[in-house]
């Protein structure tokens, strides 16, 4: 951070939260009592935080214990102290009257809090509109904000799973707090106000996020994961808490209506479905994040005008319209992104299906960023030549070349230097990369080049071509998305598409002067997996570590290869590549590679090691960073009993399987991005079906337990599906099965939620939001654990076994309960 302590951001955050809380009281979403309770709790929590951390520091100093996190401890202690001061000041000013009265001799009698007026919802007919709109807005905002966070903070697998988890957790907390917070029946106007506030907040926060990133952090720095988590919680809290509150409010308003609360659930799910489709297929294709949010604001204001028919919304609508038009006419995004890319001229920034693409210019050099991370820049002959020539020089007569990614680099031009080349197939997932690259770089226009815009793996699988040289200019196996190109299963497919004597090249992050533990594991997995599939495997250390594989011998004496091929190069030649260093370092890497690690689709281990390496850059406490968020999410279990626990594990299982299903789809069918709308629709549709189905049965413990057991069976069924899918290799039957499974898992969850809410004793307007919050917290745990830990470390099959065991266990507990 630029400053040592977060004095200003924390103050702003707490004052914003306080304003939100006051606003919710004014909207009658919160009672004065709950408002007071929240801030009293905040006072206690900040006090305890300060005190406990101070106590730990005292232990450390007194007993001279050296902790690697001492500095962090002190920082958190001070931050808790800052929070305590702000909350205490709020508390003091709120109760100034009380303290002043202490000094008065003539104390007036205590005034009672005014009794709330029962403000009934006058027209319940509009409730479905608000329900759908609530689901629609929350999904749209979620997708858009997570995209923006990913761009601003260069989100990786860990950070993205935290973002999703934080969203679910905070919404769950919002729902839980909201269930008891409301004693009033607010008029429809206030729901409208709340929904407007819900969309206004991200409109204000997104620009603030870009500005704060440049103000609070050093230029170009990837933020420490701990700070990222804090900012994430601070940033998402107001939006997610309000989303949860609105859900509780809607359930409360509709608890006695036709269909009861399950209508809210179904309508909300329907709204989410519409939101998911709209944002994926329309907004990100045509608009930037801020433009999309402004359009959503216009839509919400318009609905408010139509439904509530109050003139004041016309003003909101007019302002929103003017702002939206302004954002469409002026390069607002370029201006916002200029905060992120300091001292660079932002030439173009746009959202695409696959993430944000930004092109900047600095001293005549064009730089391409994907989701905030540098993809390539012009004038980089080293990377282009190494990728191209280390592979091409190995082949005596390379004719058919496959280049996976890398259209925004000079690799194509380098490959074209070989006269024998007859065809170059360049696979690029995102067509916009090539569009942008062709605008700013001199891309070769040669009839031998053909671009294919499709998922690389899918394209290779379905291709009729055979290749002599395959170059993978893709990122490391750092995410589930990219690891698919490094697995044993993929190499098996790839081999079928290779001509005799073909050569395959991967370039992964350089091990530099020292092969660290995590890098060793990553490099071992890539090397050993290649070795399993090819007769010869070699490593050429360069700017990256280049791993070559072929069934013919591979030469690493680059200068000799270069001399024989006679290609004119700037960098890959005997002048710049020190033969002796290459041989020695390559041998050293091979000698240091560890035990056999085979990278499989089923168990993408390198992803886990990448997470470890990323964390190691910031702290030695790798495991606590991975596990702490999960442990915190597990904490509520201590306060739960049976039904809630069951719902918690259902949320965990459902979110985990949602990710597993997307992962399976991506692995076997490859076009997950174009099918994401279908997946969302299937999942949300399943929830709606499940909730409607639950309305048709008599609720009871038996149904609840049976749905829990079904989840366990689903997990076992998924293992069979996974094995079947690997045998079918993306056939139509596999696709039908995928759709069926997606509907089934969400149906079970929807069914169980409605049954659970009904069998819980007490008012349904309290139990339904409570179970919803438990479901979301469980889902947050699933999201946090499955992507970075369970799936990469234990694999798909054991993850399924774990989930089956957990669900069976909780089912047994429920069965054994005497009730």
């Amino acid at each position: 951070m630029n400053s040592a302590y977060l004095l200003v951001p924390l103050t702003i955050f707490l004052l914003t939260l306080y304003s939100l809380s006051v606003f919710l009281v004014r909207l009658s979403f919160l009672t004065q009592m709950v408002h007071q309770k929240i801030w009293n709790s905040a006072l206690l929590v900040s006090f305890l935080g300060t005190a406990l951390l101070g106590f730990l520091i005292a232990i450390q100093i007194s007993y001279k214990i050296e902790w690697s996190f001492s500095e962090e401890l002190l920082k958190w202690h001070v931050h808790s102290g800052i929070a305590l001061t702000i909350v205490a000041l709020i508390h003091f000013f709120r109760h100034t009257g009380y303290y002043l009265r202490l000094f008065r001799t003539d104390r007036p009698a205590e005034e009672n809090e005014p009794t709330p007026v029962d403000n009934a919802f006058p027209e319940k007919n509009h409730l479905p509109t608000w329900m759908v709109l609530s689901g629609f807005l929350s999904t749209c905002i979620q997708v858009l904000l997570i995209r923006e966070i990913t761009t601003v903070f260069q989100g990786n697998e860990l950070m993205m799973s935290w973002s999703l988890g934080a969203w679910m957790l905070l919404t769950g907390i919002g729902t839980f707090l909201g269930r008891t917070a409301m004693k009033y029946e607010p008029p429809r106007e206030q729901i409208a106000k709340a929904l407007l506030l819900l969309i206004i907040m991200p409109v204000c926060l997104v620009p603030l996020l870009e500005i704060l990133k440049s103000e609070l952090f050093l230029p170009g720095v990837m933020v420490n994961p701990a700070w990222f988590l804090l900012i994430l919680l601070v940033f998402l809290a107001p939006i997610c808490l309000l989303t949860g509150f609105i859900y509780s409010r809607l359930v409360h308003s509709n608890s006695q209506g036709s269909g009861g609360f399950s209508r809210v659930y179904a309508f909300e799910a329907f709204g989410s479905l519409a939101g998911g489709l709209m944002v994926s297929f329309l907004m990100v294709q045509w608009f930037s994040v801020i433009q999309s949010l402004l359009i959503l604001l216009v839509m919400t204001a318009l609905i408010a005008v139509i439904v509530v028919r109050a003139k004041k919304y016309l003003i909101t609508l007019a302002v929103a319209l003017v702002t939206t038009v302004a954002s469409l006419l002026f390069p607002v995004d370029n201006w916002l992104k200029s905060f992120l890319f300091v001292n660079q001229k932002v030439l173009e920034t746009r959202e695409t299906f696959y993430g944000n693409l930004t092109v900047t210019e600095n001293a005549g050099q064009f730089n391409f960023f994907v989701n905030g991370t540098l993809l390539s820049c012009s004038d980089d002959p080293i990377t282009s030549e190494e990728y191209a020539h280390y592979a091409m020089m190995q082949h005596r007569n390379p004719k058919n070349i496959l280049l996976v990614s890398g259209s925004a680099t000079g690799i194509l031009s380098e490959i074209l230097k070989y006269k024998s080349v007859e065809n170059i197939e360049c696979l690029e997932l995102n067509p916009k990369i090539k569009d942008m690259a062709s605008r700013y770089l001199a891309l070769p226009s040669d009839p031998r080049i053909s671009f294919v815009f499709d998922d690389g793996r899918r394209s290779i699988q379905t291709s009729q071509n055979r290749y002599d040289v395959v170059v993978f200019a893709i990122p490391d196996p750092s995410s589930l998305q990219f690891n698919r190109y490094y697995t044993d299963d993929f190499l098996f497919i790839l081999k079928q598409k290779l001509n005799t004597g073909a050569i395959v090249l991967y370039g992964i992050q350089s091990s530099g002067n020292y092969l660290g533990e995590a890098r060793k594991k990553i490099e071992t997995s890539v090397f050993q997996t290649l070795k399993k599939n090819f007769m010869y495997t070699e490593i050429i250390p360069g700017e990256r570590d280049y791993l070559l594989a072929s069934d013919f011998t591979i030469r690493t004496d680059i200068s000799m290869v270069e001399d024989s091929s006679g290609i004119d190069t700037k960098y890959v030649n005997s002048y710049y590549t020190d033969e002796r260093s290459i041989q020695q370092r390559g041998r050293l890497i091979r000698e240091n590679l560890g035990e056999k690690i085979i990278n499989r689709d089923e168990r993408p281990l390198p992803v886990f090691y990448h997470t470890k390496q990323f964390i190691a850059g910031y702290t030695t406490l790798t495991w606590p960073v991975i596990l702490l968020p999960a442990l915190l999410l597990l904490a509520p279990l201590f306060f739960m009993r049976t039904v809630s626990m069951g719902m918690y594990f259902s949320g965990f299982t459902a979110s985990s399987f949602e990710i597993l299903l997307i992962f399976t789809f991506q692995t076997y069918f490859g076009y997950v991005y174009s099918a994401i709308g279908l997946i969302i629709a299937l999942f949300m549709g399943g929830l709606v079906l499940g909730s409607l189905w639950a309305n048709r049965v008599v609720p009871g413990k038996k149904q609840f337990v049976l749905s829990q057991i079904s989840l366990a069976f689903f997990a076992l069924l998924f293992i069979a599906y996974w094995n079947l899918q690997s045998a079918m290799h993306g056939s139509q039957a596999g696709l039908v099965l995928f759709c069926l499974l997606t509907v089934v898992i969400s149906m079970i969850t929807g069914f169980q939620y409605v049954i659970g809410s009904k069998i819980l004793p007490g008012n349904i307007s309290l139990t339904a939001p409570m179970l919803y919050s438990v479901d979301l917290i469980g889902a947050a745990l699933g999201t946090t654990l499955i992507t970075v830990l369970l799936l990469p470390l234990v694999g798909v099959i054991y993850s399924c076994f774990i989930m089956a065991a957990l669900n069976l266990l909780i089912s047994m507990v429920m069965v054994l309960k005497k009730s």
């Binding site: 050296e66 990837m222 530099g512 002067n513 020292y514 819980l760 005497k818």
Partner: protein, 384 residues
């Protein structure tokens, strides 16, 4: 169903269950805390085969004060220095990186970079874990920002370093990659032995070292490349966690000891690419007698924590070169960019190319007896 079994908040917990739950939590917490603390304490307090008592430290009422670099860490027993390389054991300071390098390679001397020092020779390069800086863009962060206890190391005492250097037909030993200041004792002993065996010693460093230890080491050094990261105290603090003045002092001390010196400046976009700052830096170098020492402007590539930046534009590097030449620096090179003709040495007097280089290769050399073949102008460096 009973209310008790199906409530979310367990307000009526049975005494026994509550007791068991809380007891197990407390016990688990205490055991974890105890185990973590004892492990951390035990690890830090132990000495090992590669521990040697440090040369420069003093005992103060607050603990031992390390005297090796301007960080001057004061350590209580069991504590480790910020460079991760020194521990206080019973009020004595020990280096824990003596004879256990984690990186050992042989490199062309041009890679260091040293362009005016024994061209075409090879350097036996060693590094242990640890560094007294914390550069956001460190390319060796996996060894520089950790302790020697956490890396996989070689058992390579000074005599073996010399032996291996000779075996590998290297003419010099380079103390490099991480930060040799942090493994000073190992460097000093190896350098003395190397000198006895007619090997050269090359010091590739950030120059963040106190004067006294440097004065002791410098007589055994033959060449040094000091990475002058910027010419601003504020940038040194934020980018490297260091200070500028001690580095400038190091340059002056090395010059005083006649150690062949080359200076590297990594041009990081939006951090150190301000031409005004580069001009001031070059003016300082010239006014302090470094105009004849090669100055390398290196291209930055996104690394470690600085990943939201582009590579340095070549135009910026060429502007920096021009700025330096205008300020009076005579030998200015651009590194990490191939084939743009900025690796050659041009005679400052007759402007003729006297050393033609391409990467690590020397294509032609027109220096005779350390003088320009064409005009006789003395070309500073160690040429043979």
């Amino acid at each position: 169903m009973s209310t008790r079994n199906f409530t979310f908040l367990n307000s009526e917990k049975s005494g026994k269950r509550k007791f068991l739950k809380q007891s197990s939590l407390c016990l688990g917490g205490v055991l974890c805390f105890n185990s973590i603390c004892s492990n951390l304490m035990a690890e830090n307090k132990k000495l090992w085969k590669w521990s040697r008592e440090a040369i420069y430290y003093s005992l103060t009422p607050r603990g031992v004060k390390c005297g090796i670099c301007p960080n001057e860490c004061t350590l209580k027993p069991g504590e480790t220095s910020t460079c991760n390389n020194r521990v206080n054991y019973n009020d004595k300071l020990y280096t824990i990186a003596y004879g256990n390098p984690c990186a050992v390679h042989t490199d062309p001397i041009e890679k260091k970079p040293l362009l005016h020092f024994m061209p075409q020779s090879r350097a036996f390069s060693i590094a242990t874990a640890g560094c007294n800086f914390a550069c956001l863009n460190c390319q060796n962060w996996e060894i520089s920002q950790t302790s020697p206890r956490k890396t996989a190391n070689y058992d390579l005492m000074p005599e073996n370093v010399v032996k291996q250097c000779l075996d590998n037909q290297c003419s010099s030993i380079a103390y490099t990659y991480s930060e040799p200041v942090s493994f000073y004792e190992y460097v000093l002993d190896t350098a003395i032995l190397a000198r006895e065996n007619k090997l050269r010693n090359v010091f590739i460093s950030n120059g963040y070292i106190n004067e006294e230890p440097l004065n002791r080491l410098a007589p055994f050094l033959d060449a040094a490349n000091i990475n002058l990261k910027s010419f601003s105290d504020a940038i040194y603090l934020k980018l490297n966690a260091g200070k500028l003045q001690p580095v400038l002092n190091t340059l002056l001390t090395l010059k005083k000891h006649n150690v062949w010196l080359e200076i590297t400046n990594l041009v990081v976009p939006s951090w150190t690419d301000d031409m005004e700052m580069i001009r001031k830096m070059c003016e300082w170098l010239v006014s302090n007698g470094f105009s004849e020492n090669p100055l390398h402007f290196n291209r930055f590539f996104p690394l470690y924590k600085l990943t939201q930046l582009p590579a340095t534009p070549i135009a910026t590097l060429l502007r920096a070169k021009k700025t330096a030449e205008q300020a009076g620096c005579k030998y200015v090179y651009v590194g990490n960019v191939p084939d743009i003709g900025t690796e050659n040495t041009i005679c400052p007097k007759c402007s003729k190319m006297i050393v033609e280089r391409k990467g690590y290769a020397l294509l032609s050399m027109k220096i005779v007896n350390s003088k320009c073949y064409h005009c006789g102008y003395p070309i500073n460096g160690v040429w043979s």
